[in-house]
């Protein structure tokens, strides 16, 4: 019983802590209904990083075609934003599109129109467990294919 209480104490302190400053990499995006959003495939690989300081966030999303792929596509999108903690496991902030660069200009246009991971000013819920971080916002403007099922995305990161 004592052990269980100790575990609860550890978990609760970590879950309700601020987001540790550092460099995070995205593991997956899950829809809130439990479905995993597929990141990557035969032809493309995606690397999404989130750099967190006390008040700033910077998301760098890189989409790159495989070296053997029949086409060549390389895009880098950067989102930057500010945030502030408003209560335990919640912060208020945004992530705005900063830049998009692709080898093929048509893709720059597409990404500007449907930018990855951008967020308008709003309230976000996060959890921190060990080096794992999740962030979600039911009112997000970027719902990907979760929109089809009426759910919203939850970002799962690991601190590197």
């Amino acid at each position: 019983m004592k052990k269980l209480a100790l575990l609860f104490l550890i978990l609760s302190t970590s879950v309700f802590a601020d987001i540790p400053v550092g460099h995070y990499e995205l593991d997956k995006i899950m829809c809130s209904n439990g479905e995993a959003l597929k990141l990557g495939g035969k032809f493309m690989s995606y690397t999404i990083a989130l750099d967190v300081t006390e008040i700033d966030m910077k998301m760098t999303a890189v989409a790159k075609s495989a070296s053997w792929s029949p086409f060549k596509l390389f895009c880098t999108q950067i989102n930057v934003g500010k945030f502030s903690y408003i209560e335990d496991n919640k912060y208020e902030g945004y992530l705005a599109l900063n830049s998009v660069k692709c080898n093929a200009k048509i893709w720059e246009g597409r990404l500007r129109k449907h930018a990855f991971g951008i967020e308008e000013q709003g309230v976000f819920t996060y959890t921190v467990v060990g080096n794992k971080l999740t962030i979600q916002n039911p009112e997000t403007v970027t719902k990907y294919s979760c929109k089809k099922t009426g759910s919203f995305p939850i970002y799962h990161y690991t601190l590197k």
Binding site: G40, G41, K42, F43, M44, S65, F71, K72, A104, I106
Partner: protein, 682 residues
């Protein structure tokens, strides 16, 4: 049975030949390397064309396993697609094989899919390869830039005068992919007829590239059977009947020009390629009849491609049956200025029947249907003076495409192409040529009616992509101007010969057919499309220089090729244009020892004329310099009479390089050793 050989071991095989050849001093069997031009064929119709011929001697020395090995002998012609021969595509002056004509013994080769343009043939049976670099060869098939004509050997090419019956056994080994070749050729001559049977088997493992990595799924197993019967019914009639069956089994990826990881099962599989050809050639050239110098060909050829996908055993089957015939005749009208005023005429009919199946159902990406092409040409060879000839010509072409799918409308078009060639020879040693010629190339059934899923997307960034038929696809046309000069003269003595050549060309193509892939927008929920479209205006231009010097037993050659291609409509580079290239040749004939030593250097410059702002796969290609050497040795008497040894070391500096237009690096150090033994039964 398998065996392997190291580089050191192979040197042991070469060095004794180099340094101890005097021990086997004997005359060269010259007869085996003499190339006799077919006296019955119409060989001079393309008198003003730019044709390069690779002869039997060079083919023996190059020890070709694939067409790429052959085309490296000439700048301006190459292959793209990487080191897997199942993925290689012939390219001449930057134009791919679908824009060129391809013939094997007069049989038109029309097989191509979205990922495979391999010409299924056995290089071991070839007597010559002619590379036409312009559209001026009106007696050949439609193209917007020339083509390649492969000619196989007859029994008489193996038999010396007086010999009646013989066999040649050959075994060869290539170390880069541990290819083992075994062939048996049996030939006989009786009265005015001869008969040839050949069986060739090749088995290769995965190839080792220049960076010493193994190119997975590049092994193959080939089997080829070929027979040809030739008879002269009298002094001026000749009939040739041949049959060939080629089969290849391999495990190359669905797109063999790419190198997807083996773990991606839906991009890998097992394949079988077959080609079966029946051919009949008849030629007549009566000495007393100046109106008849006829060459005709009638054939039927079937090529299939069978693919079974690794991930789910999905079975795709593609088949093209081509039947056709051609007639060409030369009429000698008169003698003028010591030359023939002649008229060449001809016609050609070709019909392709395509069928494709996926797991017993329809294969929409290889649509079933029929395509037929009819063409006729006439050319007058006019000696205007002793030094000037002109060659006006016309060529009429028509094509019809009919899909098996009733919802696809048939297509038909007709075109009349014109040509005016001139040659001016002010001196015996100097000639100038200038040719304006128009080209024509009909779209293929699979270009117009291709349909179905191309590839699935990743559900996130890349959408599903679908082939889309394009009933509006037009045939390609071109207008080509080529000027050239040739100097050929003894310089220091009557035993030497210096040849200098220069050619410039300008080729303006209209409705250039291009494979356009448009990515969908997954955010908008739209799928991607792939279809063949016309680029309204494309410009190609280039130049070639060559210098050859022969002196007694020494041959030296230097050649240069430069090609540029522009999509004028969009202001882009034409994809996959070859890099500028220098070739250096050196051969030394030690006739008294039956020995030939040779070197081929291929120096390719950097190719950075790519469209960086597009998703085109082609990367900038660094320059490279590849060095190749060979030694051949023939024995015509003594205990080793009948033996020939061919050794070759390609890329002996083990340069890691990639050809422009290819996605995979090429083979590294490659030692080839071949041994053949000719038995004269009687």
């Amino acid at each position: 049975m398998s065996f392997s050989i190291s580089f050191k071991e192979s040197l042991f095989l070469i060095l004794p030949l180099l340094f101890c050849s005097s021990a086997f001093a004997q005359e060269v069997n010259q007869l085996e390397s003499i190339y006799i031009v077919d006296e019955f064929g119409v060989t001079s119709v393309e008198g003003d064309s730019v044709v390069e011929e690779i002869d039997e001697e060079s083919l023996t020395q190059v020890q070709a396993s694939s067409i790429d090995d052959i085309l490296r002998l000439t700048p301006g012609a190459t292959t793209t697609g990487g080191p897997r021969s199942s993925g290689e595509e012939i390219q001449i002056r930057g134009l791919g094989s679908k824009k060129l004509f391809m013939y094997i013994d007069g049989v038109k080769q029309n097989f191509s899919t979205d990922h495979s343009s391999m010409l299924a043939l056995d290089p071991d049976n070839l007597k010559s390869v002619e590379i036409y670099k312009s559209t001026s060869a009106f007696s050949k098939g439609g193209s917007i830039g020339g083509g390649v004509v492969f000619t196989t050997k007859d029994a008489s090419d193996y038999l010396a005068p007086g010999e009646k019956f013989g066999s040649t056994l050959k075994s060869a080994y290539t170390n880069s992919n541990r290819e083992q070749l075994f062939s048996l050729k049996t030939y006989t001559r009786f009265d005015d007829s001869d008969l040839l049977f050949t069986v060739t088997k090749r088995n290769a493992q995965d190839a080792i590239l220049g960076d010493r990595t193994t190119l997975e799924n590049s092994s193959y197993d080939d089997m080829n059977f070929f027979t040809k019967f030739t008879t002269k019914t009298n002094s001026h009639d000749q009939l040739k009947v041949s049959f060939e069956q080629f089969r290849r089994n391999d495990t190359v990826p669905m797109n063999p020009t790419l190198n997807p990881p083996v773990s991606i099962g839906d991009l890998n599989g097992v394949n079988e390629i077959t080609r079966r050809t029946y051919n009949l050639e008849y030629a007549t050239n009566p000495k007393n009849n100046r109106y008849l110098n006829l060459h005709s060909t009638f054939y039927s050829t079937t090529q299939t491609l069978d693919k079974v996908r690794a991930s789910d055993k999905q079975h795709d089957f593609r088949k093209i049956e081509t039947s056709g015939g051609s007639l060409k005749n030369r009429v000698s009208i008169n003698r003028m200025h010591g030359k023939d005023l002649s008229l060449d005429t001809g016609l050609e009919l070709v019909q392709d029947t395509l069928s494709g199946e996926r797991d017993g159902g329809e294969l929409a990406s290889y649509p079933g249907g029929k395509s037929s092409e009819q063409s006729a040409f006439t050319q007058v060879n006019i000696p205007v003076s002793k030094s000037i000839d002109i060659f006006p010509a016309l060529r009429y072409q028509n094509y019809d495409l009919v899909s098996n799918n009733p919802s696809h409308a048939p297509k038909q078009a007709t075109e009349l192409s014109k040509k005016l060639g001139t040659s001016y020879k002010p001196f015996k040693f100097l000639a100038f040529t200038g040719t304006y010629s128009e080209g024509f190339n009909a779209p293929k059934i699979q270009d117009v009616y291709v349909d179905g899923l191309h590839h699935k997307g990743d559900g996130f960034f890349i959408s599903d992509n679908f082939f889309t038929p394009n009933p509006e696809l037009e045939h390609e046309t071109s207008k080509m101007l080529e000027v050239g000069a040739k100097f050929e003269k003894n310089i220091f003595s009557k035993y030497d010969l210096l040849t200098l050549k220069a050619n410039y060309y300008w080729n303006e193509a209209k409705n250039y057919i291009y494979f356009e892939k448009i990515e969908g927008d997954p955010f908008e929920g739209t799928n991607g499309t792939t279809k063949f479209v016309n680029i309204p205006e494309v410009s190609l231009k280039g130049r070639e220089f060559g210098m050859d010097y022969l002196y007694d037993r020494v041959e030296f050659g230097l050649s240069y090729s430069r090609n540029r291609g522009t999509n004028k409509t969009l202001g882009l580079y034409l994809a996959d244009m070859p890099a500028d290239q220098y070739n250096y040749n050196f051969k030394y004939h030690l006739d008294e020892y039956g020995l030939v030593l040779g070197y081929l250097g291929i120096n390719t410059l950097k190719q950075d004329r790519i469209n960086r702002d597009t998703t085109e796969r082609t990367d900038e290609t660094p320059g490279y310099f590849i060095h190749n050497i060979f030694v051949t040795k023939s024995f015509i008497r003594g205990a080793l009479k009948g033996f020939s040894v061919m050794t070759r070391v390609d890329n002996f500096t083990n340069r890691n390089y990639r050809k422009h237009g290819s996605n995979i690096n090429e083979i590294g150090l490659d030692v080839k050793v071949g041994l053949s033994y000719k038995i004269n039964h009687f």
